[in-house]
């Protein structure tokens, strides 16, 4: 392996991932074939559903927004040497922050409300990540356990708060009172009719800002430098005068704040109220997104988009091809994660051979 020259950069960062996605779809296609459906048609439907028309694009972007936040929440922690499995719970708690401020000031114009919701979603999410961070830094409690447990605790706590405290009288659904229309984050469709009535809303701008911010934070700030030093080598970090305790706690809090943005998108934008279990697994998808994006904001953005497209294209598929159910789509997603993520290097060796031969053929 090492005797060969490494792959050209464009192959590494462009061709290989694309081939991997194609491979994943090939395997997914076999499953589609197995249930007697036409895989080509299925791919067509998916692509059309995800990117073919305005509303579809809007849905894709809506999911992408969630996954960007969740993915960044995992990535950032990873750079500091931690594995944050708690995005789910952090986002859930973020929802509490968003709804509390929104209901307290219900009726305020969204231009004022939007930033407030961001702040409160971030604060509450950050709080839920701060505790595991603190326990890791000060007490050595393994962050993986504590964040897993905090997901479970969030479920109980939020279920109590929603059904017993926030739920208005006489309402059947398990949800809080609604945020007034004027206070909600506007949908993109209100500015560009292209997006139709899709749920994509201005939160996506927050996601883009978050991406840029994280990119800057990780690679261009002193904090990011310290974070990465800690993640690579805690002893050297201490040598460099970097406080591990402080870094762990702050990094986790930032991660939680990012996860809390999932709530801004959903509670403040799409649903306009706090409903039970609104995070719906986005926190876990974030793990896959972060790792597939190799912790790099650009990678995270791309893999979040891939997952967004899979979610939206998948639902289009379920709609247009009734033989294909939502479980099949989950299965295809699994294939994509497997082939583009975990088995991403499967085609590397054949490709290397190919490029090697070309290289030697080129030189007499």
């Amino acid at each position: 392996m090492s005797a060969r020259a490494p792959l050209p950069r464009w192959v590494d960062i462009a061709l290989l991932p694309v081939l991997n996605v194609v491979l994943a779809f090939l395997i997914g296609g076999l499953i589609v074939l197995a249930v007697g459906q036409n895989p080509l048609q299925a791919v067509g439907v998916m692509v059309y559903g995800a990117f073919g028309y305005g509303t579809g694009v809007g849905y894709t972007l809506y999911y992408t927004t969630d996954f960007i936040f969740a993915g960044l929440a995992v990535s950032l922690a990873y750079h500091a040497g931690m594995f944050n499995i708690g995005g789910e719970g952090q986002a859930y708690l973020g929802g509490l922050g968003v709804i509390l401020i929104a209901l307290a000031l219900n009726g305020l114009h969204w231009t004022v409300m939007f930033p407030l919701m961001i702040v409160f979603g971030a604060l509450f999410g950050a709080f839920w990540a701060f505790i595991p961070g603190y326990l890791q830094a000060k007490r050595g409690s393994h962050i993986v356990i504590t964040t897993i447990l905090f997901n479970f605790i969030a479920t109980s706590v939020m279920s109590y708060i929603i059904t017993r405290i926030l739920k208005p009288e006489g309402v059947n659904s398990d949800e809080s009172a609604p945020i007034e229309a004027i206070s909600r984050i506007p949908r993109l469709g209100e500015f560009f009719s292209f997006f139709g009535r899709s749920p994509a809303n201005l939160s996506i701008l927050v996601a883009i800002v978050a991406l840029v911010f994280c990119y800057w934070l990780i690679w261009h700030s002193k904090f990011g430098y310290a974070m990465r030093a800690l993640g690579h080598n805690p002893v050297a970090a201490r040598y460099a005068g970097i406080s591990g305790t402080r870094m762990i706690i702050i990094t986790m809090a930032i991660c939680g704040a990012l996860a809390g943005m999932v709530a801004v998108n959903n509670v403040g934008g799409v649903q306009g109220r706090l409903i039970l279990n609104f995070v719906n697994g986005a926190g876990f998808v974030g793990i896959a997104v972060a790792f597939m994006g190799r912790g790099h904001p650009i990678g995270v953005a791309l893999s979040a988009l891939l997952f967004g497209a899979l979610y939206q294209g998948g639902q289009e598929l379920a709609f247009s091809m009734p033989g294909i159910t939502k479980e099949m789509i989950v299965t295809i997603q699994a294939m994509v994660i497997l082939f583009t993520g975990a088995m991403g290097d499967m085609l590397r060796i054949p490709l290397m051979r190919l490029f090697d031969r070309r290289a030697t053929a080129g030189t007499p």
Binding site: F83, T146, I148, L149, V330, A334, I337, G341, D345
Partner: protein
């Protein structure tokens, strides 16, 4: 006396709740000790629960179901191994993928085969692993103290439960007193040490994954063919993650793993009993407050007494050797 009987019953429940966790936890122990992080335990549990229930329902044999449960887990392990050992992919992604795969595939196939929305047909008692009465359990039942202990707590579980408990000393023995265990632990700490001693890291890691599959396969089977009669969607309900937490809590050691799993089981069993009870002084508390108790207690224990857990050094890092 009533309290004693209650205690026995709660402990009995503790055992039943702990078994799937314990099996998954020991399964994870083998793979992580060999240097392979397995966040896919959840998916493996679910997948093998499905495989076991399906085959048990179709053939009518719980034992064949068990084989199928293990078989499914083996397939999952093979994928995990291919991705993370041969292709040196990221073990976490591979595990997450397996979790997705299990969630999607079980319901999809279940629906295709049984048309019951992913549920498998309900299993009759002869298609399940049912409680075994140990010798003299009935005779001793009336003896005070130990009678109840023996006939309720020790006797009257299904065979998989006994296996799970035997697996603990067995694991301790394999890990610390056999050649295989020595190498297994070494490969998770410093695979290069093995490689330079002329042993195949790949082979050992696959062996570990096979054991992982067997254990977690039994765990999945327990869920669908012993504890309940038949599979339904997502019935693993996060047990794989809890098992992972238990593994870290136990610092990757078999006896502590047993204790931690029993603790989790006990807190759950207790929690069921405490719901709706009027407590002295505070009175009724919201049921959610009781339900978070196990998690809170775990966190307090972790932060207060357990200290730092140091994972096997090579865990999560693919072994690459330049050739």
């Amino acid at each position: 006396m009533q309290y004693y009987t209650d205690l026995i019953l709660i402990l009995d429940s503790t055992v039943r709740l702990a078994v799937p966790l314990l099996l998954a936890c020991l399964a994870g122990l083998y793979s992580e000790r060999a240097g392979i992080v397995d966040i896919g335990l959840e998916g493996k549990l679910l997948g093998s629960a499905f495989g076991a229930a399906t085959v048990a329902a179709v053939t009518g044999s719980a034992w064949l179901g068990l084989l199928a449960g293990i078989g499914v887990a083996l397939c999952f392990s093979a994928v995990h191994g291919l991705a993370s050992i041969n292709l040196k992919g990221n073990q976490t992604i591979s595990g997450v993928a397996l979790n997705f795969l299990a969630a999607g595939l079980t319901t999809f196939l279940g629906q295709a085969w049984f048309q019951r929305g992913g549920m498998t047909p309900q299993l009759g008692n002869d298609q399940r692993f049912t409680p075994i009465t140990l010798p003299f359990a009935n005779e001793l039942a009336d003896v005070p103290i130990i009678g109840g202990l023996y006939s309720e707590l020790i006797s009257g579980h299904n065979i998989l439960t006994y296996f799970a408990f035997i697996a603990v000393p067995l694991t301790a023995f394999v890990l610390f007193s056999t050649r295989f265990g020595l190498r297994l632990r070494a490969v998770g700490e410093n695979p290069k040490a093995l490689d330079t001693a002329g042993m195949s890291v790949t082979r050992l890691r696959y062996q570990a994954l096979i054991i992982t599959a067997i254990l977690v396969g039994i765990g999945g089977t327990y869920l669908s063919v012993a504890q309940s009669s038949g599979f339904n969607n997502n019935m693993s309900a996060g047990r794989g993650y809890i098992a992972l937490a238990a593994l870290i809590f136990a610092k990757w050691r078999p006896w502590p793993a047993l204790l931690v799993c029993l603790l989790f089981g006990f807190l759950d069993a207790l929690q069921f009993r405490l719901q709706g009870i009027d407590f002295p002084v505070i009175g009724q508390v919201p049921v959610q407050a009781i339900q978070v108790l196990p998690y809170l207690l775990t966190i307090i224990l972790l932060a207060g007494f357990i200290g730092r857990a140091v994972a096997p050094k090579a865990a999560g890092i693919p072994y690459t050797k330049e050739r």
